[in-house]
Amino acid sequence: MNKYKMCMIPAYPLENVQLLKDRVIFPYVCFRTFGESLWLVTKSTGDYPYLSYLEGAELVTLPEEQPHMEAAVHYVTEHADEIDLLFLFGARGEYMELAGVYKSLRPDGIIYLKLDANIDWANTFPLFHKPFADFLHSCDIISCEARRLQSFLYKKWQRPVDYIPNGIYYPLYPEAADVRFEEKENMILTVGRLGTVQKNTLLLLYAYALAFPNLKEPWELVLVGSVTPEFQTDYEDFCDRFPTLAPHIRLTGNIADKQVLHQYYKKAKIFALSSRFEGGSPNVFSEAAIFGCTVLTTGVDAAPDMTDNGRVGRVSSDIEDFEGFARELSALCCDPAYLARNFHKMRIYMKEFFDYERLAGRLQVLVELQALKRRQS
């Protein structure tokens, strides 16, 4: 198989924290698997200490005086010869010119677009706007992060869209290798921007309150992440209203130190996701799952994929159904045998279908097939 010169260009300047998220990590793993080089091209937003995790990847800082995408187009114009495989992230109008310029200079080059979309967003893509339609057309491989979205896009776009979920790069999680179920505690964990409309944290809080009387053992609810002022108020109201529950609930605030966060994943038996929507499965799901947490999620697009259609987790479909979510939560809390069994099943499922190294192996063949097609045409 061939080795490719790769380049990842985000639609907006990269932040340090994004270096370890799907938009950069997957291209990085592809580089490790079948790349000759990887250039991350962005305007600087500050220091990039996480770059030290990405050995071999090169960061190209675009000039300050130009807007990000204008500078990126200029970069591609100058360096198209050095890019065999261009990674784009998100079906964003910002990419229209960039993709066109790249394809005009490198008709044999390959564009891989990772959609990072949910159905609602995908439904608003301006498909009748010719430059946007041309942009999608110029992408040789498009992947989305949820099977439900994939089926939707086949019907809407009538073009191949591959399913490549948001996965996990195991070398970044060495602690996950030796996690043991016996060391876990009765902890329900969630991680995210607490109180935002998307994360729908109140659902989890009140579902916990509804489930609480049914729990045979004490369970702690740990909410990790930055907190909106509205949610802080709601949380305080909640604690006033349910003083007996308050000692069992913990708001940790944002945890930037990955090692500390991983300790929570290690301890938690249940990871709860109460989101109204997600672009595929969130990174925190994959992280929790490799630590053997059983996942309870609302019916976001990726819910069937996250739980292997309910085999390794539970789905409460209705995003506003407090009682339904509480029912699933108490059922899980009251079934330690299931949680113990599922600890192993979940970890195996993740390794088999969410490991970025394996997913990169699949993308490699897809890229080879596209390269073959380009050569033939």
């Binding site: 994939q150 089926s151 086949y154 019907k155 009538q158 073009r159 191949p160 869209v161 591959d162 399913y163 195996i348 088999e352 279908f353 394996r358 192996g361 699949r362 063949v365 897809l366 080879e368 097939l369 073959l372």
Partner: protein
Amino acid sequence: MNLTITDTLITLEEGDETFVLFEKPDLPDYQNVTARPYLASYFTTGESIWMRLQTSMEVLADFCHEDPCYGCYALLFRRLYPLLLSSSQAKNVIAYGQPANCGAYKVFQNFMTFLQEGNALTALAQSSFSFQVLSEQSCHAFLYCLDTHPALTAVCDALRKIRPGGLFLLYTLQDAPPAQLIPLCEKGERDCLGPCTVYAFTVDEALSAFACANSSENLIFSRAEEILKRAGDLQNLVQAMLAGASLSEEVYSIAALILQQTEEILLSIYDYLENDALPVLTNALKEAVLNYYVGVSGQYEITTYREKLTQSSEAFFSAVNAEFIKES
């Protein structure tokens, strides 16, 4: 575009170009309605065909002078006119590509009714599916806006609805037809004024044969054959994989390539599929093949990959059979 109507000529000008749309025939009694050539039903208004044509063109200009297709409508009218006058038989004209309330359609219908009460102009919905309600060889003329649906199969489907000797009029605002339509357009007569072009065809045996060969029906049959051939090849490859044979890396790539081609073929006939999940099932099988390959080449535990490959292949092959070989 400027319309000029005189006692003997109707012309359309665009810049320096002048196009003669209609010339009054030099017939002794042409102005006399009772001497209307070939027509059996008469009107009492005393209005001659020429007079009605003049009025119709004025109305067309009023309705449509700001419509980019105005020139096309005038050129269509020019081509339609001899057909409408060719016999006293009622004419069935189909129009596709503009909304049903298009001003030009109203003008054509009005003129057609003047000539013969039974003449009908039917505006189809702007979907090529609307052709399917029409019988083969059922109309005398078909007006087709190429810019609405510039696909060879759809054009040929439309052609098949026209009676032998009937008229097919393709119109467009594009300088040139799409590449796949060039061989067809070269068979027609081309009228052009400004940005407007009309290709006119009289349906004969050769044109009918061309339409048959390139119609969606024929496309579906030939694509179905291609899919079944590929499905047969795939079945052998997948069986070899599931049998645990030691296969070279290439085998997986070939299987993925065949599946990718199958997916593309299925998507090319997507509108005609009974099971619209077939392309995504094909993709799922491709994914399962590649996961299996990654599992084998990485020397991972492959039990789950084998199960998924079995499930995906069963789903794919049974869907292909149900879609293309129902009787079995």
